[in-house]
Subunit: 215 residues, 2 copies
């Protein structure tokens, strides 16, 4: 069974998953405090960080397991808005994006794909969630598809009932403003089974598994 | 930093990690109830099982992350005792052992190594834990070394203070007899920081990180 999975989606106590303003200096807007708990290298495995193997790190490390493609929102790829400027931008990550799979970037302004030597490629698509997911599954070649965020993208797929698994991380801070993960989302919890656990750091990990998974 | 790690070491409430009698029919002796909670495929990642991504499965899936070699006791490799019979035995796993790295098998009866097409090899060594670990680290080529069990082997390395991380899984059953993980082990807990969490299945996961890690 091929799954559509969300990993390491950080959410503040007041429901925000990103800041309001994304700029070149602030890739996640004014919400960087959400990610203070996170050494990004652990997405490649607990061995990639020197620090102890904690519950937090163990759960973060699921990110890449069996993932064959990612779908992301345009803001995860870059801060530009509207038609793409001719600025040579190839994403936040330089020539070594961590994805190492095809990535489908949702945008109303399609453009040429970008291919990197480490297996990452970016494909810019303007289509329905269902159609983008169909293409991503095809590209994933039997592996799972990650919905990589940001919150607007996760919410869009959640409302379309296209998500099979979500690992949310409830961060014990408030942001007061930002992009909510929950705006206009109601009743989704009835479709999922939840296992929830808090770690010694104060984070709460929620593992949401869709009860009856389509494919 | 290269770590020496133990993963998915199941322990009963009364401290047993294997049965007393290992035979061809009973690879883990009469203690198979310890493993009823475990679908072994998950060691390759949570995507390998159809079932929901639970806390248990998430933690089990760390097993192979960044591991470059394993050290195992002789009984994990086979039920034979004394000099090796000429029986063509190549381990419990057929021609697809799950390890996919060099594995060092502790035995007082060294023999020729065995090499498999999937990257697994078995090297039979009669040496001190320190020396076997030195060889395993060399073979791991910068990755971590897993102490793969059984309990006698884990205990031996624990007593020699050669373990940096242990994921123990406390299973809510008693066995009454078997091979204890804790026989003659005292005071080890002072050398480790412990994070402990129980899952909805009733298992308790203990993540033991050595406080001051050598290399």
């Amino acid at each position: 069974m091929v799954r559509t999975r969300v990993h390491n989606q950080f959410v503040s106590l007041d429901g925000y998953s990103a800041g309001e303003y994304v700029t070149f200096d602030q890739p996640i807007g004014d919400a960087s405090r959400l990610f203070g708990w996170f050494d990004g290298r652990v997405i490649e495995g607990v061995h990639r960080v020197q620090e102890p193997v904690t519950l937090d790190r163990a759960l973060f490390s699921m990110w890449g397991q069996g993932i064959g493609a990612e779908i992301m929102g345009r803001r995860k790829f870059g801060p530009q808005q509207g038609p793409w400027p001719d600025d040579g931008w190839r994403g936040w990550w330089g020539e070594q994006p961590p994805f190492k799979t095809p990535c489908f970037v949702l945008t109303h302004h399609p453009r040429e794909q970008m291919v990197f030597e480490n297996g990452t490629s970016f494909h810019f698509v303007d289509d329905t969630p269902e159609e983008v997911l169909r293409r991503a599954k095809e590209a994933a070649d039997g592996l799972d598809v990650r919905i990589g965020g940001g919150p607007t993208t996760v919410r869009q797929f959640l409302r379309a009932d296209l998500i099979d698994f979500m690992h949310l991380v409830i961060v014990p801070i408030t942001l007061g403003r930002g992009v909510s993960l929950w705006h206009d989302v109601t009743g989704f919890e009835d479709r999922f089974a939840l296992e929830s656990v808090s770690s010694s750091s104060g984070l709460t990990h929620q593992l949401w598994n869709r009860r009856s998974t389509g494919s």
